[in-house]
Symmetry: C2
Subunit: 207 residues, 2 copies
Amino acid sequence: MKRIADSTVRRLSLYLRFLEEFEQTGQLTVSSEALARRGGTTSAQVRKDLSSFGSFGKRGLGYSVHELAQHLRDILGLGREWRVIIVGAGNIGTALAQYRGFEQRGFRVVAVYDRDPRKVGTRWDSFVVRDIARLADDARVERPDIAVLTVPADDAQAVADLVVRAGVKAVLNFAPAPLHVPHDVALKTVNMALELEGLSYALTNRD
Amino acid sequence: MKRIADSTVRRLSLYLRFLEEFEQTGQLTVSSEALARRGGTTSAQVRKDLSSFGSFGKRGLGYSVHELAQHLRDILGLGREWRVIIVGAGNIGTALAQYRGFEQRGFRVVAVYDRDPRKVGTRWDSFVVRDIARLADDARVERPDIAVLTVPADDAQAVADLVVRAGVKAVLNFAPAPLHVPHDVALKTVNMALELEGLSYALTNRD
DNA sequence: CTTACCTTGTGAAGAAATTCACAAGCCACC
DNA sequence: GGTGGCTTGTGAATTTCTTCACAAGGTAAG
């Protein structure tokens, strides 16, 4: 199978969300055109995106909402539960730990870490914040799949190195700093400052 | 001036961050190659990105760190203060309101809104949560530039319509739902679920 | 069974973004 | 003031992504 672009995978996630909406309304089939309208793209784009993975539709009819949703869940690897650790118990880390949306999608937060002794041992929700020094040992037992990093920019690379050494194969980075990880580790960075600056640019350079 | 791609603007923001790092270390000049290495891109990419806006470098020497940083701040519109309102006083909204990183960049949070009467009137940090019903009236006086939406997906479009009617020209959406806004309103959506699903895909379809 | 009508899947065309590669310019040293 | 060594700025080539456009295949109705 040829390499799938990042942007394609993002759109697949979106399509899945729309399909789940359609499922709720009891709609049985959907056309590429309808999916495109919902997602602000074109029907050709939708069909191309799907065609990398197979032929899921019926000509003249469209796609079975339920079937296509299941295919997308398979493609995206959402059929299983992923074990997530959050490193950094600041404002954003706390917010994420308590965010219910993740559980629904099969992302289960198994632990929250911090290095600040004043935070270690405190409770949030159902989590007791653990000392980051324990991370490597814990990982041997709990085998987390994904680490979410909500630590200050200056600590981010060191923490990334730590979780990679602990065997984590995917990192979601909220620190405003680009990280380096080995080739076999997946990395995504969410940089909110960048988004705001993008808006600042748009406001400044208005037509 | 020709249309600048979104991805270019993102990279400019990154370059600015790196330049500020270099400023701190006292470095006076920097080559496109050095900037590229820091940002995980290529020197040609850096030069192309900058060339859309002018010639800021000196051949044989590179760029003046301080000068280029100032140019980028001008281009990105970071020379002034932007007035930001946060709508939705849930976990993420709270985290953002307390996040210090925004202030440093000139994004000043002027108000936090929610529609839940139990939240309205409560204090966080220096903010008293206001009733969303007041938003339109407040906006006439406070003239916010940017609205950050941290409301549930189902309410997001209605809230977006509300802030647009109130005159806000830029929206940063954290709700996992695509929004529609008029052409003259800038919109960015940050969808954390999408990022996690991207990691799930990467973990599942590993070589 | 045949006709009229839809919608998919996909090569080919087109657009956009990235990379190449090199002339032009600048500095420093002799 | 000439020479050698760097690094920029930028057209051209390349690669990647998106859109076009249509044959192929399917439904439904008569």
